[in-house]
Assembly symmetry: D2
Homo-oligomer: 337 residues x 4
């Protein structure tokens, strides 16, 4: 039984605590820490049977009974806490992105050198049943050599302007999942990025220097071409699709819905909208990613999403931003690291 400490008791920290308690075998939440620990969170933790709560994550790092930590704190603290945890000899599951600052990711990579702790990055969509089915078909050779990859990723609603201002920009905040997906589905590296973007959902987003709509094209090391289309707001819900096209055919996944019901009336033949909320859509993926992390730690095998998988999407996002700013294709090797 692996003892896990969760650092950060915000939305995603709570999701992990619950999914570990109810769905992850061979692991239990032994402690949770949050600088804003309050009575409500304490009661919630008690309800889940979490024995230790703290407002200082060092209580977790210093606890010799803790085997692994989940870093679910705010993004700008990920890297520093990760480094502390590595030095404390804890296995680390770190929410994405490891950092928006490449030098910070480099520091984490340095810390990992010579260490034998496991380090996994929280790209949960790799553990989703739909995207796994695409990956499996590609890996099994069912569609032959990959020629074109298409990812549609649209949120159900745009975040607040206040959030946008501190988000690091759409590419680092939202598209980063899709950049990871391109690498995951193809098993190949992105070598060049060309981005178009605009603020079409909410013009005020342009005023704070960001975009809400984008089409990003990429060249891959294996010769394939990938394209992502993003919107911060799809009126019909959370739109999460992918297609991989190759020499022998295509595999595609469409959206999940709350039921298969189809209503036919004089107004048309109407099916359910996609699931609306990312937690609803991706709930199972959160327990699966932690289960595989627990397995990797328990069996001393490779983690499914390693630090390089944490680094590459940030590099791609930086290249995409540079492409948008400089209005030209940008090679990944141009991004200083």
């Amino acid at each position: 039984m692996l003892n896990i400490g969760i650092i950060g008791a915000g939305r995603i920290g709570k999701v992990h605590a619950q999914s570990i308690t109810f769905h992850v075998k061979n692991a239990q939440v032994a402690a949770i820490a949050d600088p804003f620990m309050n009575d409500e969170t304490k009661a919630w933790a008690e309800g889940l049977g979490i024995p230790k709560v703290s407002s200082d994550y060092h209580d977790i790092l210093n606890d010799p009974a803790i085997d692994a930590v989940l870093i679910c704190s705010s993004t700008n603290t990920h890297a520093d806490i990760a480094i502390e945890a590595i030095h404390a000899g804890k296995n680390v599951f770190c929410e994405k992105p490891v950092s928006q600052d490449l030098s910070k990711i480099k520091e984490v990579m340095e810390a990992l050198k010579g260490s034998n702790v496991k380090f996994q990055v929280g790209f949960n969509r790799r553990f989703d049943h739909n995207f796994r089915a695409v990956k499996q078909n590609v890996a099994d050779g069912n569609i032959g050599d990959v020629h074109i990859v298409k990812i549609t990723s649209r949120d159900p609603d745009a975040p607040s302007l206040d959030y946008v201002k501190v988000s690091g920009g759409m590419f680092l905040d939202m598209t980063i999942h899709d950049f990871d997906m391109v690498r995951y589905l193809t098993g190949s590296e992105v070598t060049e990025v060309s981005a178009y973007g605009a603020a079409l959902v909410n013009p005020q987003i342009a005023e704070v220097g960001d975009i809400d709509t984008a089409v990003i094209t990429m060249k891959l090391a294996n010769g394939a071409i990938a394209v992502i289309d993003n919107s911060r707001r799809a009126a019909y819900g959370y739109d999460q699709r992918a297609e991989v096209f190759g020499s022998k055919g295509q595999v595609a996944v469409s959206n999940d819905t709350s039921s298969t019901a189809v209503v036919s009336t004089e107004n048309g033949v109407t099916a359910e909208k996609p699931l609306y909320f990312f937690l609803e859509r991706y709930m199972e993926s959160f327990s699966r990613e932690v289960s595989e992390f627990v397995d990797a730690v328990s069996n001393n095998t490779a983690v499914p999403v390693d630090i390089n998988d944490g680094l590459q999407p940030v590099l791609i996002a930086k290249a995409a931003k540079k492409s948008l700013d400089e209005h030209r294709p940008v090679k990944l090797e141009e991004i200083t690291f």
Copy 2:
């Protein structure tokens, strides 16, 4: 080039005239007759390049240049005209049903004995691309031995009460296509029928002794069980589906639509309704059935829908009516013929 005379210039006669002119190879409409021949119809015939028009179908039967006739007159005249045509040595394509009166069908069968004219019945749905695909999969053994057959057949709107009164009843007027479909898809004969029916669309239909909604179950000679569900009115359009389930799997067809467009908004994910009108839905089947008739005549091969195929659905319809009236399963052998 086969010279065809069309007897009856009502809706279906005109459809055949046009589809022969534009879509049927090796045949041409040489004449058309209708007792209510008028200037409008004459102009229409001239526009199609039909050289002869008449108000007396004997002009067609007596014309030695005519190789074959299409009997598109009112149902109660089909059999008598067919017998005359057979005696005149004309090959006959007769619209369904040959007759609602079994003794009349018997007379046609007698007339055919010793004759070497071709006689085809107009069960056009056998020539529809969807139902053909079901038949092909069944015939190819893709679903193994047939266990269950399901046919959904619902009209977009109920006919007028005046029509209902002279229609011969829903089973003979509407379900007859579905009875034929059961035989076509399975290649097996119906041996027993059990029917439930009611007037749920329009209670006045009950007052004139008919029904508008039915579920009819059948036993087949090959052991399979078939079920048809009918309604005179589907609010969303013309609903024409079939499933055949067997030891190795299932084949099913759904409705055709005017486009594949799907609109996703905050109100739902909406596709097109089924095509509304039977001519729109089954247009291609009308030219295909006549093409195959022309081929059978030209090459002296068997017609795809013969007089027994005309007889059996009428027997089944009679058994279904008897089942409904007597509130019990009725074997086909109970229907005196």
Copy 3:
């Protein structure tokens, strides 16, 4: 926090224990009893944190701390244990069917008279997301007055002959869920049944007096006609569909799949098969039905599936068997109760 005792630690008992532990709020498994209690089951119960295990269900009935029992024992013991539980003042959740013996159901109904315990029957499919969506659309009036109900229910594989012999027959063992579904979706009672059945999957099933393939037609009190088609073996998996057709349109649900992946190659456009196993397909429904039972007990409100809901499908199954045996439609009022 409701204390639940589970009687019977077979497959379904274990499923309930796990789903209560992980998914049902305001309830916990306080004890589990099984006459074949062994070390393996004890270890499993300990792993779930169930404090009491026993080989005698009376230990549960006699425990004043237990608020409610789940009867998950073999079918022939349901009624007697239910009666004991009622007399012991325990709220009862009883797996379906309450009994295959109508007199036993009558005894349970007698025991409930004057008692104020809650009694719920385990027709879990009523809590399935797909069938709930159908029910909701019907209840909301989206399809108008109900005219035709169609249920397809096919198992992925036939049970062993040994099981078939003691199953009570396909109607009581398998179709009973579908009989309940007809009532649930329409909110109307079945008044008459007409059944066709055969052993087409495995002829040996006929030798032990049962069938494996059936089409059952029903008249409903509201005038609608319902039809169920069953097979003990669908080569492509567990086939669970429903359609309700009415004056304003139709609502239909199709199968759930493990992903939305569609692979297009030169061999065709291939989607996933339906989920194969009933536990996989209906897992969520098991926790939902118990959650609603817990709510009804906690809030002293009506249970969602009461003893009459347990009785009616057994009456329909008996009528269906009589129809099959006597080869005629059978009214429910003919079934002595």
Copy 4:
């Protein structure tokens, strides 16, 4: 009745002759000319009832009875013949592209100035039922302001190297339809193009200086972003899809198939592949585009696809090629015209 002369009796010329004869009202093929006129083509023309055949298109241009010409000759002759036809006072329907040479298109535009003949370009896909449904939904405002346009256009098989060498390159030969589609669906002009391309289907195509796989991104005057993905070879058939996403939702069309049949077996749930051949897929669009041309001529109304619609896709294709060659986004205004 409009008298039409067809110039060019190759594949597309024959398609138009047949579809005019059988499907276009108020028009007839009065003559057909082809420099390689032979006995086979003469017999075919006679079979269709075309009264005049010639090996010299001037016979058509000089015939005062001819109201309009369809230019179906080889692409490099389109513009010159069009100019002659305009000068001869004939209304012109010209197959796409008008020319791959911008100066030639300019000459046609000059010839049209001061003339009052109608001039329509053969972008037939605008008349396809699926793409029309997309356009209609966009035009009706059902999806709000357009943000993202996605077009998938993949051929079933790559052309021969000999064809590729003289094709003018994939953008002018194949993608030109998709460039037109972007303009048609949005009603907005393309202002900038950024293209990625490679020869992934057949590396020999790279050796002759062309590509077979591409992703082309475009900025539109209305602010939207469009993306086209192309392949010369989709193993599963002719893949022709489009999506338009906007502020209120999305409209999408998928492929047409030869039937709606779905076969479910232990191997999966398999639907039909897309229609394979462009003539099969787009047959109806050929008669519709000519019908609308005939209407425009007959009623002296605007043609649905004018000379500017012929020009713009060529400009976009040139910009795409320049983008590919110079490895940067290219504004349309950079293309000298």
